[in-house]
């Protein structure tokens, strides 16, 4: 059997198992309950929660982007470890509060939460729209990752469009049938596979090319002085850019609506247990960076069109030629991309239905809502697929702006929970200002003052307006603000 056929066969076996896990997860559950589809009746256990959160966060980025950063930017890639270790900590405090409020007041999404707190349907709709656009951007990255893996590892026999259609089609199928429970169960399988492959690959590459991490880093430091430090000659990132990038990720991490809404899927104790187990995921990322560092001295910069190709390059040029290896690595990378794509597709469908469609058509029955959520999974899936394969230059800017704007939800959430004086007018003006400032520095003016991350500049404008406008306006009801503070 030729190499690509064996690789393809292994990837297909993987896809079959992931599909079974996802579809079977929803069996015997109520098919027409919004609560089951959106938040699994708030009853997910620890193992499922941990893999659902971990699998979601470690996307195709872990296999393609992470090594790409290490390869091209050196020490700057350490920021990935720092923010993944810290990003989940705020959830220990705000997750249980959100979970209690969600149970008492019946929330399924972040929009539900904000709409109720600030008494503003408009705010919910804005948050829903920004989130859906950001999700589509996130999804196109995952879909491109899946397609790329298929194309490279089958040596071009499976074209770009077909690989994406196959892998992502499976995600859409199990999410639309089994809801969040399908995503969680397939993430357990995908997460385990992805971790095994990452560790195997990272350690194997480091030892076979350099004889261990010590000699590898010594050699890199000797050949590229400054590359393994931040700031100064030879470095690729300033201390300010590094620090503010970590800060914006830590503040923004749990603001991704698909993560925030997981507060409503489980108990307070489970949320704390998930946070507790989470730093381990950051440690798991170390060998992922090794993959990229192993390429620094072995892959000439002009051999790659894009640093994200460093893993496929190492694989096809420097490793023993084996269909088994190709298949396993392909499956691991697909697992990483698909375990993110499922939770995001699910989050986007629920968010669109509850926060954008329901406020415009409040008379929908529960059964109709579930139908719309399932349909939304397919529609959003198709849109993301179409964008990933064919692209659309005008839309890309809009999607990128939304993607970078997620952190701008942070003042609204924290203010809503801890500051009863926060008002609807304050929240709306802060959010709009934050999104505009962030998008300006992200898309129009890429050079920022002092090299500060655009998200932080947006937050400064956001918080200033949020606080100032809240002070000069009156909260619609002090009762709601107090209830949130006490929750």
């Amino acid at each position: 059997m030729s190499r690509w056929v064996l690789a393809l066969a292994i990837m297909l076996v993987y896809l079959g198992i992931a599909f079974l896990f996802g579809v079977l997860a929803g069996r015997g559950r109520s098919a027409w309950s919004v609560s089951e589809f959106a938040v699994a009746n708030r009853e997910l256990g620890l193992l499922l929660m941990w893999f659902l959160m971990g699998g979601t966060v470690f996307s195709a980025f872990a296999f393609l982007g992470g090594p790409g950063w290490a390869y091209s930017r050196g020490a700057a890639s350490f920021y990935i470890l720092a923010y993944s270790a810290l990003g989940m900590l705020p959830w220990y405090l705000i997750g249980p509060k959100a979970a209690r409020l969600g149970r008492q007041r019946g929330y399924f999404t972040m929009g539900d939460f904000l709409r109720d707190r600030y008494g503003s349907t408009l705010l919910g709709v804005i948050v829903g729209l920004v989130a859906v656009l950001a999700f589509i951007q996130y999804l196109t990255l995952q879909i491109k990752g899946m397609a790329y893996v298929f194309e490279v590892l089958t040596e071009g026999h499976i074209p770009f469009w077909a690989g994406a259609l196959l892998a992502y089609g499976i995600v859409v199928a199990y999410v639309s049938t089994s809801g969040v429970r399908g995503a969680a169960w397939s993430d357990v399988f995908q997460g385990l596979l992805m971790l095994l492959v990452a560790w195997g690959m990272g350690l194997y590459l480091v030892f076979s090319l350099h004889g261990g991490p010590g000699p590898m880093f010594q050699a890199i430091d000797a050949a590229r002085p400054g590359f393994l430090r931040l700031g100064g000659p030879g470095s690729t990132m300033s201390p300010m850019a590094y620090s503010t990038a970590i800060l914006v990720s830590v503040l923004g991490f749990i603001m991704w609506p698909h993560l925030f809404m997981k507060s409503f899927t489980t108990s307070e104790q489970r949320i704390k247990q998930t946070v507790l187990a989470y730093p381990l995921f950051a440690i798991f990322l170390v060998p992922v960076l090794f993959i990229g560092f192993a390429g620094v001295l072995n892959v000439p910069a002009d051999a790659l069109e894009n640093p994200d190709q460093v893993l496929p390059y190492l694989l096809t040029n420097l490793l023993p030629v084996s269909g088994w290896l190709f298949g396993l690595i392909g499956a691991g990378t697909l697992a990483a991309a698909m375990s993110s794509a499922d939770a995001i597709t699910h989050g986007a469908a629920v968010e669109l239905t509850r926060d954008v469609i329901l406020p415009l058509a409040p008379a929908l029955t529960e059964r109709e809502q579930v139908w719309i959520m399932r349909a939304a999974v397919v529609v959003i899936g198709a849109a993301a697929y179409w964008l990933a394969i064919f692209g659309a230059a005008g839309l890309v800017q809009l999607l990128l702006g939304a993607y970078g704007s997620i952190v701008q939800f942070a003042p609204l959430i924290y203010g809503g929970l801890y500051w009863p004086r926060a008002t609807r007018a304050g929240a709306l003006s802060g959010l709009v200002a934050g999104v505009l400032v962030n998008s300006y520095f992200q898309l129009v003016q890429p050079v920022t003052p002092l090299d500060i991350n655009p998200g932080i500049l947006g937050l400064l404008a956001n918080v200033a307006l949020f606080v100032a406008v809240s002070w000069v306006t009156r909260p619609a009801s002090t009762e709601v603000g107090e209830a949130f503070l006490q929750a």
Partner: protein, 84 residues
């Protein structure tokens, strides 16, 4: 369960505010250790530790501290209670 008992149960589930404040402090301390200016003390390659550049070993070490720390917080809150 009548309403009062339910309220009492909800109150019982909430962490004491002192613990929450200490957790916030702990998180903030970890953040400060991993960004500049404090991170400047670790921003170097030598000495290498377990084959990792010093900066990377520094991050991995504090992630380990984080892991143990969060376990202690969890234990302080739930250790004496039965699994919910």
């Amino acid at each position: 369960m009548d309403e009062k008992a339910l309220d009492a149960k909800v109150a019982d589930e909430q962490a004491p505010h002192g613990l929450e404040r200490r957790f916030a402090f702990f998180s903030l301390a970890l953040l400060v250790l991993l960004i500049f200016p404090v991170f400047a003390v670790a921003n170097r390659v030598q000495p290498m530790i377990l084959g990792l550049p010093f900066a990377l070993a520094w991050i991995v070490f504090w992630v380990g501290v984080e892991f143990v720390g969060v376990i202690l917080f969890y234990w302080a809150e739930y250790g004496r209670r039965r699994e919910a």
